[in-house]
């Protein structure tokens, strides 16, 4: 039971939170259970990674006895303004210091009194006390969201403990509590080694999956890919995930040959001046847009690249007359092109792909292959978001609306501030939807983001593939009332985590289970949701537009504190140039994790908002 000391502290906070009327009133402003899972909580859940880096020598497995902290006056701490607690809990890059501060202050629940509380109030609802259920369960009482979320900052670092020991001693948290004897340097070194190990393990895992002689396990591939795909595997995995390559490896060769021939024929026919009347405005439009596509990346300034992309985009446009070429599609084609291009470079030069002219190392035949693969994958991607580009762009308008409704529920303060400042979501979010946030991030971050997007949302075309979930079907298959949904939503995440604890043990088994870093645990948690089965055994994949809205929400709310202090002009200017230049893969992973958590909470609710 020891590990519950920390997780229990919310209860204490609950009382305090109720006493400070201001806090209670504010968080109860919106409706129902969903609101209680505030942005802070989600941040806290996905937060441990940052905490981990902030607290040198912190081990997720180490139990910190409450007596260690000095202050008893937890009530005073809980009365801190809500705003300041936000900034502490939010996993923004700069908030590390704040994290450690808040962490220290909230281990202050020294009294044993709270065990009583725990027994009295929680024993009824905790069916598996190994899991941080209280965060979810108590989310229902709006007035306590605040204090709960603070405490959850603590309860969550315990997670690695739970998943890590999942193979054996899950029932008894006691053994996980180990005295820490290593120095910070040793820990840092060990962590590096672990990271390297885990990377190697991932590559091995991918290679093993991809080298299957018969039918690839696409489902497992999705699970793995959610957390990022190793560079050498990326071209092939993307083609599989998006449903271009079939899962049956025996068919790969013939399939590719056929698709590449199809593309070649299409090009021949289209550019045959006698048989085909060229759509001059479209051709011209694409022509003027290409030099200004990714202007900061040298690759896209090469004539050979522009020529290839022009053919791809033009062919796509005339084959999809309902939408035709829309600006933004020129952005969407580039990750595919750039990634598939790496197939033609020696492994050691993959990182150079953005700087080298393909004409220097590709044969004409290879160029056509590359164009064909890019074309078909672009087609697959755009199939999922056709509504974004047809007349009136209804898909985008709907997403923008969903985003605003989502933010209204997750971060009412921010939403109200926008309303007061007359900021309309469409003023900044239109581009987010039209270009899938590509304009907001550097290319490597976008590519990492796409790993998850493709893993999370694409459909398999594979015959006998492992996945059965269909994005549209998922909603229809389980019609539930909002009330039922609430229950299932709050209970599902722990069960998912539990599933993953056993499943996830296998890839990581080479590592010392005990020394699992918080980072690994977090990504695992999120991956579990994305990849693993839910209770009914059907994979709940989401549509691209749907998941993207959650990512946008996470992205917007990331800046909530700053935005709430800005006026109209500052807000719009800020959101047009968000400070993401220095973002690394870990930052985008954090964002995707947050998005995932929100999706698991709000997904089925969104249909009721419209």
């Amino acid at each position: 039971m020891k590990s519950w000391k920390i997780s229990g502290s919310p209860h204490k906070g609950q009382a305090a939170g109720g006493a400070t009327g201001g806090i209670a009133a504010r968080s109860s402003s919106a409706d129902g259970n969903f609101d209680a899972m505030s942005k802070q909580q989600a941040a806290a859940i996905s937060g441990p990674r940052k905490q981990h880096s902030a607290l040198q020598g912190y081990s997720p497995l180490r139990y910190m006895p409450p007596s260690r902290s000095a202050s008893n006056d937890s009530n005073a701490l809980l009365k801190q303004s809500r705003r300041s607690s936000h900034s502490n809990n939010r996993p923004t890059g700069g908030a590390n210091a704040g994290h450690s501060a808040s962490t220290t202050s909230f281990t202050t629940d020294g009294s044993g009194k709270y065990f009583q509380d725990l027994d009295e109030d929680w024993s009824a609802v905790i069916d598996d006390y190994n899991m941080p259920i209280p965060v979810y369960l108590n989310g229902g009482s709006a007035g306590t969201a605040d204090s709960l979320s603070r405490a959850s900052t603590h309860s969550y670092p315990q997670l690695p403990n739970l998943t890590g020991t999942g193979s054996g001693s899950r029932g008894t948290p006691g053994p996980a509590v180990v005295p820490e004897t290593r120095t910070p340097t040793e820990i840092a070194q060990e962590r590096d080694v672990q990271e390297l190990n885990s990377m190697m393990a991932r590559i091995t895992k991918f290679n093993a999956l991809l080298s299957s002689k018969h039918i690839l396990n696409v489902k497992e591939l999705r699970q793995l890919s959610w957390n990022g795909i190793p560079k050498p595997n990326r071209p092939k995995v993307w083609k599989l995930l998006i449903g271009y390559l079939p899962a049956n490896t025996k068919r790969h060769e013939s399939f590719l040959q056929r698709k590449r021939k199809e593309y070649r024929d299409g090009i021949t026919h289209t550019f045959d001046e006698q048989n085909h009347q060229r759509d001059i405005p479209t051709w011209h439009q694409i022509e003027i847009d290409l030099p200004r596509t990714n202007p900061s990346i040298p690759l896209y300034q090469f004539k050979s690249v522009q020529h290839s992309l022009q053919k791809i985009l033009y062919l796509w446009a005339i084959r999809h007359p309902a939408s035709g070429y829309v600006q933004g599609i020129n952005d969407l084609v580039t990750p595919f092109y750039q990634i598939f291009l790496t197939e033609y470079l020696p492994a050691s030069q993959i990182d150079e792909v953005a700087n080298r002219d393909p004409a220097m190392y590709m044969s004409e035949e290879q160029t056509v292959q590359l164009e064909a693969d890019t074309f078909w994958c672009l087609t697959k991607l755009l199939e999922q978001i056709t509504d974004n580009y047809i007349h009136g762009q209804p898909g985008i308008l709907k997403q923008v609306k969903n985003l605003s409704q989502l933010v209204k529920r997750i971060d009412a303060d921010l939403y109200d501030h926008f309303t007061n400042e007359h900021v309309e979501f469409i003023q900044f979010a239109f581009r987010w939807m039209n270009c899938l946030l590509m304009r907001e991030f550097e290319m490597d971050v976008v590519i990492r983001m796409w790993d998850t997007y493709l893993a999370e949302t694409s459909q398999d075309s594979s015959v006998g593939g492992a996945t059965t979930g269909a994005s549209a079907g998922a909603d229809l298959s389980a019609p539930t009332t909002p009330a039922q949904r609430t229950v299932s939503t709050f209970q599902t995440p722990p069960s998912k985590i539990r599933t993953e604890a056993t499943v996830g043990a296998s890839p990581s088994s080479p590592l010392s289970v005990r020394s699992f870093s918080a980072t690994t645990a977090v990504t695992k948690t999120t991956a579990s949701g994305a990849g693993s089965d839910d209770a009914s055994g059907t994979r709940q994949s989401s549509s691209l537009n749907e998941f993207h809205v959650f990512v946008c929400a996470a992205f917007l709310i990331k800046w909530s504190d700053q935005l709430c202090g800005m006026d109209f002009q500052e807000i719009i200017t800020f959101l047009q140039n968000p400070p993401t230049k220095d973002w690394r893969e870990s930052d985008i992973e954090m964002l995707l994790s947050e998005a995932y958590i929100w999706q698991s909470l709000y997904k089925d609710a969104t249909s009721h908002w419209l």
Partner: protein
């Protein structure tokens, strides 16, 4: 005391790739980028300019040019006090599009909107004068017919760009409180031809009584003084005041 500040909401419209974003970039940052990414949706920028001891703050919405995004445009020009309709002097098609925009603005935008017709990319004529496909006279003619300001500019060299905005600043009528984003009321002064107009900025949603009345009186005075200029230059204020009388229920003292 600081100069009084008036905000002018300005929108840029025009065919794709005529240089709308480049004009704004030149005006706001005095900069030029050869390959600027196509604008998606719209971009927002601001710039302050001092005119006649008066500070004007331009709040600029730079819209996307592609036809597909055109349905968004009304959202941006609806409350605009000024518009730049931009075309490319080397692309006749873009001039046709400019006509459409002028027409649409006259039909849909607020009645008093100041429109500047801008032929961009005149730097391209320096290299090769035969590049010009839209004669200066054509632009002037359209401007005259439709009562527009007219300029030919180069965002690349910066020629004439600031002049467009300065001229607009001089021509925009009294601050129209009805679409001001300013919070609360304040005193706004504008000097013009030796006259000093004063009006109170009013939050549109608040009930107006005395202020509205006095404004109507002021408008009437202006009307009497400058009947011929009234329609064009001060028409916006008048229209606003008339609207006010219709929509706001206020008790006569």
């Amino acid at each position: 005391m600081n100069n009084p500040v008036t905000s002018i909401k300005l929108v840029l419209l025009g065919e794709v790739a005529v240089g709308k974003s480049s004009i704004v970039l030149r005006f706001v940052s005095n900069d030029f980028a050869e390959n600027k990414e196509p604008t998606i949706g719209a971009a927002f920028l601001t710039q302050r300019v001092n005119i006649n001891e008066h500070t004007i703050k331009f709040e600029i919405w730079d819209t996307a040019g592609q036809e597909r995004f055109a349905s968004l445009a009304p959202m941006y020009y609806r409350n605009a006090q000024a518009a730049l309709v931009v075309y490319d002097v080397t692309k006749p098609q873009s001039f046709i599009k400019a006509r459409h925009w002028v027409k649409e603005l006259h039909e849909q935008a607020s009645k008093d909107i100041i429109i500047a017709l801008v032929g961009n990319k005149i730097d391209m004529l320096d290299e090769d004068p035969t590049e010009r496909k839209v004669a200066r006279e054509e632009g002037e003619k359209l401007a005259q017919e439709e009562n527009l300001l007219f300029f030919e500019t180069s965002a690349k060299t910066g020629a004439n760009v600031n002049e467009v905005f300065l001229k607009i600043g001089e021509n925009v009528p009294l601050k129209q409180a009805a679409d001001g984003s300013n919070n609360g009321s304040g005193l706004n002064v504008r000097r013009d031809n030796g006259w000093i107009w004063q009006t109170r900025l009013i939050q549109p949603r608040k009930p107006l009584t005395v202020a509205a009345e006095s404004l109507v009186v002021l408008i009437t005075k202006v009307h009497i003084s400058f009947p011929e200029r009234f329609r064009t230059e001060y028409g916006g204020v008048a229209a606003w005041a008339v609207n006010l009388c219709k929509t706001v229920s206020w008790n006569q003292p």
